[in-house]
Symmetry: none
Subunit: 196 residues, 4 copies
DNA sequence: TATGAATGAGCCTTCATTCAT
DNA sequence: CATGAATGAAGGCTCATTCAT
């Protein structure tokens, strides 16, 4: 049911989706939704939770591994993220599109915090990559924003049976952000991280 | 007035903004808006037009220059884009956030076409960069999506008096997408476009 | 079950009581009520019937006794009434509070008639008291209204283990309405302020 | 408008009155009510305020007069009360019938306090009458309840062009509660059935 | 131009009632 | 007997829009 709601919200937008739209998608009468969910608000909350909870949890596990090289860790994190986003495309679309809904009101506090937590994890990994000298941008904050932008935007164009698999997409994003091993070819880091 | 509306729409979201909210922001009585604008719909249309028209026009001029190296052209285009987006932050936020509103109905056809046109221009430039061997990704379509994502996302975090200027941000994005002159160090394109 | 319903109706009011409230009070599932009662309406009907039927019956018996002095009869009637009201406090509260519900629609016709019948009995007794010269008010109709008011109002403040017993309350009301034996004369004021 | 609402509430009961009923009575479209009043709740609040505020104020003035004999004061208070109640019959009916609505929730706190205040005033006057030896009941608390009951009940049967004027009704109620001057003595039964 | 009272459609939500189990 | 999921009709309320002034 949450999945179905996510689909409708993703398609029409939260505000423009009526309870009847939802009920129709779930194949229920208008009022029937309220047997399962307390309100339209709560439905959005559930969608966001279903999206963020597992993502955050797995991201934590992934970044908790201490001995992995930061660059590999970033790659793995991006792969997880893209994979999760594309697997829960509707959830992700809703989560992004309804930003201004989620940003206001106490109901969404937990969700806002989950988002913050996740972004913090990404930031920390990027910071470590930066420190390891393999970040393709001198400014790690900008690299973070760029990554957030490109991954989030993925769900806007990704199609399940499209040309690129989630893994390939993640590889591409990682490739953009990382430079090759500095020992292999000296100076490449400076070159690609400098403005053209 | 359109600017004020953009600010309110950006803050509250189109659907959650009432005509009274708008009127208050414009310092007008509720009904007074209808002397200047036919409807709430049309106001959103105006906002998107004000954003996309000049951007599209200048992007056309920029890409019409034939003899410039593609990489420089891409850099210039990104700079224009980021600059425009940050200068019209509210417009841009509305344009993105209300995607699902704009995507439906005949009223927004022109806007949808403008967006397509703009993305087409970007795509063509990227294609040329790719052909010139300076694209940091083997897959030019993915590069396009990544670029769209990061630039669009910029308005979500950009602050007028922030650490980075629009030009610096654009430099960073361009740096991510481009590789150094191939004549300096052969094969660098392959390296950074391969999965790590 | 009717008793439990009366309690809930008395507390929340008929309209603001949901079937679920009732079910909970009866310790039954929501739909289970419909095995015993046809509808919410009917439940209210039952409550009112349980209240008015025995009261009316006993009032008829009481007033049918021909040879008793009218003043004693009134006293007895008031005692019966107060006793009944306080013993079925919830029923009585419902019966009064939901006056505007009961007053409309054919379902409650019988109840309305029962009320009329009862008030008619009281009226007749008061009339006889008046004729006997022992009514404390020249206007017997006003005395009737006053009596109705005070007795009905009793259930709003009466508490089972309160300072006054139903009998004492009834004594007080009777004392207010009756004057001492005219033949005894003198000092009737003192007499009537004491319980009869 | 508040008057019209009071009429409809009095007739149908608060819960069974729809916004449309009200709008119809005010000759307005359904939503038009919300230009004047924030909610249905608030309308009830206004009705009760309009009733209780002036009554309480005048009752305070009346009972503030120190040198008047308590019995006369009680008579005056009852006269004020009956007069006010009959002049605002609909308000009064609503105020009583919707007791269970008013009794719950924070919105009605002020109203509940106003009622308490008023009843306290009546109680104090009765107490003084009792002390002066002119109360017709030994139990002053019971006298208070009886008075509350009969006056409140008045609006249930009073008709503007009926047989009895508000003043006559008040005279009757006062007569029931008071005994004649103990020093004058004799024939007090006849006296107490006449206006004091 | 500008106002703001008024409209009326539509939304979220509640709830009495039904019915398959 | 009893459950509780499901229905569907209303109800309170909001809000874009209109229009007399």
């Amino acid at each position: 049911m949450v999945r179905a709601a996510a689909r409708v919200f993703a398609e029409r937008g939260y505000d423009q989706t009526t309870i009847k739209d939802l009920a129709e998608a779930i194949e229920l009468a208008a009022g029937g939704i309220y047997h399962y969910v307390g309100s339209k608000d709560q439905l959005l909350e559930l969608i966001c939770d279903q999206l963020m909870h597992p993502l955050l949890e797995r991201a934590r596990e992934l970044t908790a591994v201490a001995d992995e090289p930061p660059a590999e860790q970033l790659h793995a994190l991006v792969a997880l993220w893209v994979s999760h986003a594309t697997q829960h495309r509707d959830h992700m679309l809703v989560f992004q599109q309804e930003r201004h809904v989620i940003e206001r009101g106490p109901r969404w506090r937990r969700i806002r915090e989950d988002r913050k937590q996740f972004e913090l994890l990404v930031e920390q990994v990027i910071e470590r990559v930066h420190a390891s000298g393999r970040l393709a941008l001198a400014d790690s904050r900008l690299a973070l924003s760029a990554l957030l932008g490109m991954v989030n935007h993925t769900v806007q164009w990704y199609r399940p049976r499209g040309r690129l698999s989630p893994a390939q997409i993640a590889d591409g994003y990682a490739a953009l952000l990382l430079v090759a091993q500095p020992d292999v070819a000296a100076g490449s880091a400076e070159l690609s991280s400098a403005p053209v």
